[in-house]
């Protein structure tokens, strides 16, 4: 194994070699560019106007920068940790105005451990701009799990595909609920209840267990 000094001197040697090589390549590149310009100049000087127009059209780009009119944080591009307000479970239920914590089968445990520092709401200039919560539960070997994403006013933004063929909606406790069986042990459910959007993904749960989890969220009386 190399000592610190051996590695430093070997790296410095390689850096110098590569920088020299880069400088030589730059020189060759510049000469080639100059040659190409000369050739191009000669070619266009003797070609007809029609060809010139076509080439110019092909080379011209059209650049349009649109104005988004919303800042990066509002577009959810930039969640700034400085804007985090930590909520506990009761505060979060109060914020959503509806219970968002499901009753899950007894072998599943919440992923939140003792070091958990609170649920996060991103708040800036008097407004909440990101309140989406992710709640995970699983058994010890992760063969059974419940993943729940929750947001206020609308369905949560997702980074996975949900089928668009929602021709048949279930009716549970008076609410429309979209439920899909992915046929490989996964179920998905989506619904909006009291202006809170829920997306539920389960693995290894039976149909009855999935319905029970959905009912536990819909039957809230907070």
């Amino acid at each position: 194994m190399k000592t610190y000094d051996e590695m430093a001197s070997s790296a410095l040697k390689r850096i110098k070699q590569q920088r020299q090589k880069k400088q030589q390549l730059t020189k060759v590149g510049l000469m080639l560019c100059a040659s190409c310009l000369l050739i191009a100049f000669g070619y266009f000087s003797f070609s007809d106007d029609k060809q010139k127009a076509t080439l110019t059209d092909n080379l011209s780009n059209t650049i349009i920068i649109n104005q988004n009119h919303i800042s990066s944080d509002q577009s959810k591009l930039n969640l700034d940790l400085a804007d985090v307000v930590a909520f506990n479970q009761a505060e979060l239920i109060q914020y959503f105005g509806h219970n968002i914590f499901p009753i899950v089968p007894s072998d599943l445990n919440s992923w939140l451990d003792d070091n958990f520092s609170g649920y996060r709401i991103y708040y800036k200039d008097g407004k909440v701009y990101w309140d989406q919560q992710v709640l995970n539960y699983s058994n010890d070997d992760f063969s059974r799990s419940v993943n729940l994403e929750v947001a206020k006013d609308d369905l949560p933004l997702l980074d996975f595909l949900v089928s668009q063929e929602r021709t048949s909606m279930s009716q549970i406790l008076g609410y429309d609920v979209y439920i899909a069986d992915c046929l490989d042990g996964y179920y998905q459910a989506q619904f909006i209840c009291d202006d809170v959007g829920f997306v539920l993904t389960t693995k290894g749960l039976s149909e009855a267990e999935v319905i029970a989890v959905v009912e536990s969220l819909l039957s809230d009386s907070s």
Partner: protein
């Protein structure tokens, strides 16, 4: 700062960077490639990249966070280029184990942490990486997220799962893990 000194033409600044970060970076890269000799080469490659490209360090994160992110890219490039497993000839295996142990001993001073590192090596690559950065390099979850190019939430989840896996591994070995 040493990197600024180096950019201004002082090679001693570069030597100081190598002294400060070589061992930790090498053990981190080893969690990708599982071969300490290759990890050493890639560590040198990381320093060479730093010296040739001289990227601008924008103070968005600490220099160390930034250097580890470069190291991670170098390791991933290597894995992409050489998808097949890097085999170690049988004769070299004893040397490899000894050299790796020496580096560990030099870098990880506490005996308890060395035992933890042994258990860590039995975990999956991503679990090793995240726990190395959190427990041995003392990076915050936000810094780890920057290095591993994941969200903070993703890192919290990964740390949680990695800790569970490590706990299982330590229990198998008969160690207590109350402080984990």
């Amino acid at each position: 700062m040493n990197y600024r000194r180096f950019l201004e033409g002082d090679d001693d600044g570069f030597v100081a960077i190598v002294r400060d970060y070589k061992d930790g970076l090498m053990l981190y890269i080893n969690s990708f490639v599982h071969n300490i000799y290759l990890a050493e080469e890639l560590t040198e490659e990381t320093f060479v990249k730093l010296g040739v490209k001289r990227p601008k360090y924008k103070n968005k994160a600490s220099f160390k966070t930034w250097l580890y992110a470069i190291g991670r890219n170098v390791a991933i490039d290597e894995l992409r280029k050489n998808k097949k497993y890097h085999e170690v000839p049988l004769d070299d295996y004893t040397n490899l184990a000894c050299d790796e142990a020496d580096i560990e001993k030099a870098y990880i001073k506490e005996e308890e942490k060395r035992m933890l590192y042994q258990a860590l090596k039995k975990l999956s690559s991503s679990h090793q990486q995240v726990l190395w950065l959190v427990y041995f390099e003392d990076f915050s979850h936000k810094e780890v997220a920057l290095i591993m190019k994941k969200s903070v939430h993703g890192i919290e989840t990964l740390v949680y799962r990695a800790r569970l896996a490590l706990k299982t591994e330590l229990e198998k070995e008969g160690f207590g893990n109350e402080n984990l």
